[in-house]
């Protein structure tokens, strides 16, 4: 029962948070939750599926743009309509990109996802869709309304926080269920030894594509709320630098768990805030820190847990994280 203790404590703390801290921190934690959803979504593909994707920001940004495009002028959009639309758009993009990218292996997969992500970036940057390089505004936060009666106005930071928290918990629940299901085990098998998984009868391409699409859809969920919170979408939301940053979050948090990336997101966001406030050259420091962390902790920050809390007997000491589509120099 010890396993339940920490999550319950954290949940209680999360629910209590907006009542005890200033609004600025409520919004900050909302943002951390949103990035946490994005990072966990990416981890389904990277950690569980072994697919290193550099285009997830494109799904994130696309969903944000869908909200901007569907938001009527200065009135709030309906969350019940626009959120599914945004996630559907992200899922569709993931389907097309995944269907093409999964025809390749190893490094080529990474390069292809990077390229297609950039393609979506240029689509919004160079064309007139939603303001081009200037971006577009989401003038009013979406609302949850049924038949004209407003149930929840997301303009209130507290309401927004709880809606995001709800989706965070839902994401954790869905991802946990997926990972523990037969599908999740087949996905892990394909990552661990593709050849053996295929020769047992698992349809590898289909399994990976499904995982990639689910991962993209959840990334879209995060992007929707990011756009709603920030009130503005710009092509940078689809940029590969963001994709790479989310990968860092995934690595920091540890690839082998569902909630690890949430911690990674928190750590990196706090780190960025601290660095940006301290120096103009924060990118340099961030780059160096990333390098140090990756070199020192290949298993993520969780490697530090045994050092801090004492090693638990039922856990293996260090889980080697080595996910990547089976090397194929020659395919």
């Amino acid at each position: 029962m010890r396993g339940w203790f920490i999550p319950v404590v954290l949940l209680v703390a999360a629910i209590a948070l907006p009542f005890v801290v200033p609004t600025y921190y409520v919004q900050f934690v909302s943002k951390a939750f949103i990035m946490g959803i994005l990072a966990m979504a990416l981890n389904l593909a990277v950690g569980h599926g072994g697919m290193v994707s550099l285009c997830h920001a494109a799904f994130f940004g696309l969903a944000g743009y869908v909200l901007a495009l569907l938001s009527p002028g200065y009135d709030p959009a309906s969350l019940l309509l626009t959120l599914p639309a945004a996630m559907l758009a992200a899922a569709a993009a993931a389907l097309i990109i995944g269907a093409l990218a999964l025809r390749t292996r190893g490094v080529y997969f990474i390069m292809v996802t990077l390229a297609f992500g950039e393609m979506l970036f240029f689509l919004f940057h160079d064309t007139g869709i939603a303001g081009g390089s200037d971006g577009a505004y989401v003038n009013a936060k979406p609302e949850i309304a049924i038949a004209g009666h407003q149930l929840l106005d997301l303009a209130s930071p507290m309401a927004f926080y709880f809606v995001v928290l709800f989706f965070l918990i839902a994401t954790v629940a869905i991802l946990t269920m997926l990972v523990q299901s037969p599908f999740g085990h087949a996905l892990a098998a394909a990552r661990d030894n593709e050849r053996r998984a295929r020769s047992l009868g698992f349809p590898i391409y289909r399994i990976r594509l499904i995982a990639f699409v689910v991962s993209g859809a959840i990334a879209g969920l995060a992007g929707y709320f990011a756009a709603a919170q920030f009130g503005f979408v710009a092509p940078q939301m689809l940029g590969w630098h963001l994709s790479a940053t989310v990968l860092v979050m995934v690595l920091i948090g540890g690839l082998c768990s569902v909630t690890g990336p949430l911690i990674g997101a928190l750590v990196l966001i706090v780190l960025e805030e601290v660095l940006k406030a301290s120096t103009d050259y924060w990118k340099l420091i961030e780059g160096l820190i990333i390098i140090v962390i990756v070199l020192a902790l290949p298993g993520g920050v969780r490697q530090l847990w045994p050092m801090i809390f004492g090693e638990r007997s039922e856990e293996r000491p260090v889980r080697q994280a080595a996910p990547s589509i089976v090397e194929g120099r020659n395919g």
Binding site: M177, L178, Q180, S181, P182, F183, G184, H185, A186, A188, A189, D192, N193, R195, R196, A197, R198, S199, L200, G201, F202, P203, I204, R206, I207, I210
Partner: protein, 256 residues
């Protein structure tokens, strides 16, 4: 024991495979009956690996046809062939090294269950799959190692594990690619006994270099040389075949 007409589980006819200008397999035909172990032997470069890859679907033939029971599987990829009842063990042990013995075999059983890609519900809830896995593990003699991580097993135990995985998919035909490679005498004895028991109710194709084991196990023998079949029949017939003696068995005394 044997039916008057033994069912053909796998039949390949007229297989050709070229790599650029090199003919790896030329007009090879072979069939494997239920209840028999059909061994394929030949010197290095004879085309045995290519043949087994053609049969399992990792390579596609340039020409020829392959049928599994009644189904034409010539153009099917490996996973679909597996779902039709083809199982394969590899020359280089191909298992899931980071998973336990139980999880390895459970995955195999899952692959052939009615809903292998179910996206909800924990794997623990499927008792049928778990029982199938436990049976297969016990059958190969690894029951005591069920919770051991596969990479921690000995070489011979990993071979046993691979066979358990193949068994858990309940195949009609099993392709064994040099199962005794790299084994000591004692380990090999165990595997030989296991292989012999596999043919009950299914067909087994065995590619192997260890001649003693081959003659002990095989009901029928096919000899390959330079990509072609040069002889096929019972072990006794093949032993006497002049082409075989000159090409292969004549050197057997010196071979490892």
């Amino acid at each position: 024991m044997a039916d008057a007409v033994s069912r053909v589980a796998l039949r390949a006819s007229g297989l050709h495979k070229r790599f650029g200008g090199l003919k790896a397999v030329s007009d090879v035909s072979i069939d494997v009956h239920v209840g028999e172990i059909h061994a394929v032997i030949g010197p290095n470069g004879a085309g045995k690996s290519t043949l087994i890859n053609l049969l399992s679907g990792e390579l596609f033939a340039n020409d020829g046809a392959i049928t599994l029971e009644a189904t034409d599987i010539t153009r099917l990829p490996p996973d679909r062939r597996a779902r039709h009842g083809l199982g394969r063990a590899y020359q280089k042990t191909t298992i899931f090294p980071k998973f336990t013995v139980h999880e390895n075999v459970r995955l195999a059983a899952q692959a052939r269950s009615p809903a292998p890609l179910r996206m909800f519900g924990s794997v623990r809830s499927d008792a049928a799959v778990r029982d199938l896995a436990a049976q297969a593990i016990a059958r190969v003699g690894l029951a005591a190692q069920t919770q051991i991580v596969a990479s921690d097993l000995s070489h011979g135990e990993q071979r046993q594990l691979e066979i358990a995985m193949v068994l858990a998919t309940d195949p009609r035909i099993i392709l064994l690619d040099e199962p005794l490679a790299g084994m000591g005498q004692v380990e090999a004895r165990g595997i030989i006994g296991l292989i012999s028991s596999l043919k009950a109710g299914r067909a087994v194709l065995l590619v192997e270099h260890d001649m003693d084991a081959v003659f002990e196990l095989a009901d029928r023998l096919t000899v390959m040389h330079d990509g072609c079949v040069i002889a096929s029949g019972s072990p006794q017939e093949v032993r006497m075949h002049p082409a075989v003696r000159s090409a292969y068995l004549g050197d057997h005394g010196d071979a490892a």
